[in-house]
Symmetry: C2
Subunit: 428 residues, 2 copies
Amino acid sequence: MKRMRIGIAGLGTVGGEVAKLLLTRSDELAARAGCELDLVAVSARDRKKPRRVDLARAVWHDDPVTLARAELDVVVELIGGEGGPAHALVEAALKSGKSVVTANKAMLATHGAALAALAEASGAALKFEAAAAGGIPIVKALRESLIAYGIVAVRGILNGTCNYILTEMEKTGRSFEAVLKEAQEKGYAEADPTLDVGGGDTAHKLALLSALAFGVAPDLAQMSVNGITGISAEDIGFAREFGYRIKLLGVARATARGIDQRVEPAMVKAGTPLADVEGAFNAVVADAGEAGPFFFEGRGAGEAPTASAVIADIVDIARGAVGPAFGRAAASLRPISPPPPDSRLSAFYLRFKVLDVPGVLAEIAGTLAQSGVSIESMIQRARNPGEPVSIVMITHECGETKLARALNVIARSDKVVAAPCMIPMEAG
Amino acid sequence: MKRMRIGIAGLGTVGGEVAKLLLTRSDELAARAGCELDLVAVSARDRKKPRRVDLARAVWHDDPVTLARAELDVVVELIGGEGGPAHALVEAALKSGKSVVTANKAMLATHGAALAALAEASGAALKFEAAAAGGIPIVKALRESLIAYGIVAVRGILNGTCNYILTEMEKTGRSFEAVLKEAQEKGYAEADPTLDVGGGDTAHKLALLSALAFGVAPDLAQMSVNGITGISAEDIGFAREFGYRIKLLGVARATARGIDQRVEPAMVKAGTPLADVEGAFNAVVADAGEAGPFFFEGRGAGEAPTASAVIADIVDIARGAVGPAFGRAAASLRPISPPPPDSRLSAFYLRFKVLDVPGVLAEIAGTLAQSGVSIESMIQRARNPGEPVSIVMITHECGETKLARALNVIARSDKVVAAPCMIPMEAG
């Protein structure tokens, strides 16, 4: 039987798990791969750290970048980070004709098209199933399966930490800050949660899904990104009253005027597939035109789901699948041309915090009407004399720019005590 | 640019759609495939029948089996049927080293392992994404993606007609017969619906998913198959009261004592992914051990979803993916060894139609208790004096064989007016 020589750079939870699978499931994986998967080299920061499997047979590299010059067929990059040693290693490996498997979404969202071109030039594979939605095989599905009719839109819950926080906020009624703190204590959220709760991690993953779906080069610059730090328990409660849930979505959509990419909290109708995704799970809806919507759900992070995706990529390469990284020649990946910023039409959830004085509703409704924004439904809470009161509404479809301008006018009213909250409604 | 020569056998709705896609989306598909996809030959029953695309450039074959001798790289078999010309064509094509793409679940469920061996021997590909769950890329996911930890169980809603009928029965309260008749009039169900409502179509698909998941040869003989013809509106109503939905599931499960494959109506808890699948949609839960459950949903039939799957297989072959049909060497596919028939443990829904006389509940409960079956919850309807009354219960987990014996005893009681109904509870 043939053998494929593998080197792993980065032996954290995922790297350690990939190594363990290669060593403990070698017969089954060889049957799937059609060849022995031989872990011959590893690199990590601390050689002395105890590992869960015996790596004595693998050659140790202090410098991960030297893996690119070792006698290897595949380099598994699990160091992470947009640039630095991860990028240097991947670049060097691909240049030397070694295939690369990586979970590094930050690197690919920024350097993806250039790395894909390097891989093509040397005949190497560049695979990244683990970089988006963890164990869910959405990269493969978009690259290889849902191609006949083209993709109209991809919508996903791509960050388990955010979905966990939003789910806990809904279940317990607690604030974002309180739930985040608990998640950090339990190890579900990072000490510095910015990349997760700020939407950046979702943006990295969306850039990859967008590239696969639409044949474009990944481009974070052409993306509007908002996180969940501004979501209040009150908004989650009102969402529920209206029959919605608030989810942090990554949405990429082919419109007549360009490819619209956005990461934002959105109101998703309860009972639709995305609305029902709970806790740390990830999910993606791929709207494949006439072939219909496809829905994928699974664990989006954690060592086992991520290692599962890495192993699938390794086996793919062993089976000779060295097609282009984004499903088509790197040179054919188009730049993303976003639609004009004022072209977005959507329905919105609005919340105003106002003084409980006569005429305030008339003033808000009047300003919205003047901007052509009409209201589909409204909730006004029972009055607490002397205290500010919330007025909540859902609009019919309207222009986002017009609505934002109207909200600016409303915010300046002396009856309005806080900046209005505005959350788009999105299909689930 | 290279080109791949394709012949299609069978120009029904799916075959016609595949031909249309190859001709009208040729640039996009060539970009994905890395070569021109050239439709050079077709075969169908009636040459004079008008087609939706101009097939004048393709060579017409009156006898589909002659496609196996034509100058082709890939034969697309969309004739259908377990044996006959479909099987003859596929066998001849694979023997001559031509790759085959097929949607033919009946053929593969019976001859799958033998055809996979033929393909391997000649170096041809045998691909069948369209044969299970239509456009959902579950064949690829099980063959290539969810392999690191092995699959513990696959559960699916694999027949859109049955799911449509059950959904309509639940929505309208009408009988199976009435909903089936309407579905036939609307063209949603075949004039002879046996293969769908009897569970045979689900069985064909489950045999393929089972083979992919567990590394076994597809084997319909080692499968218990029950359809939905015995499901009453009353049972669907009671299911709803208990918080369940009745779904026709195909379930394949690796147990300590063998691989358990069954097609049967099951009670699935409302709010779980499978319970919420409505209408003609298909869905699959793949339980991938430590990597967690994965859920896939999409259109399971119809020309566009099926053609989408066929095109994906064609592009795969163009990209050089000629790995073994079931994800591992045909010679390594093990025979299915099912668990002993009396080993099944499950909770069950039970419905008894009884005379409304004193002591009947005590008699039923007593017989169940003697067999070691304990009851989790029960509904007894308000009495209609003089008329038979339904007693409905959900058991705790118990041995199916013991329970069935107890039901036989109960059925012989002169207070029981109809055969008891017994539906297993299944995870969703």
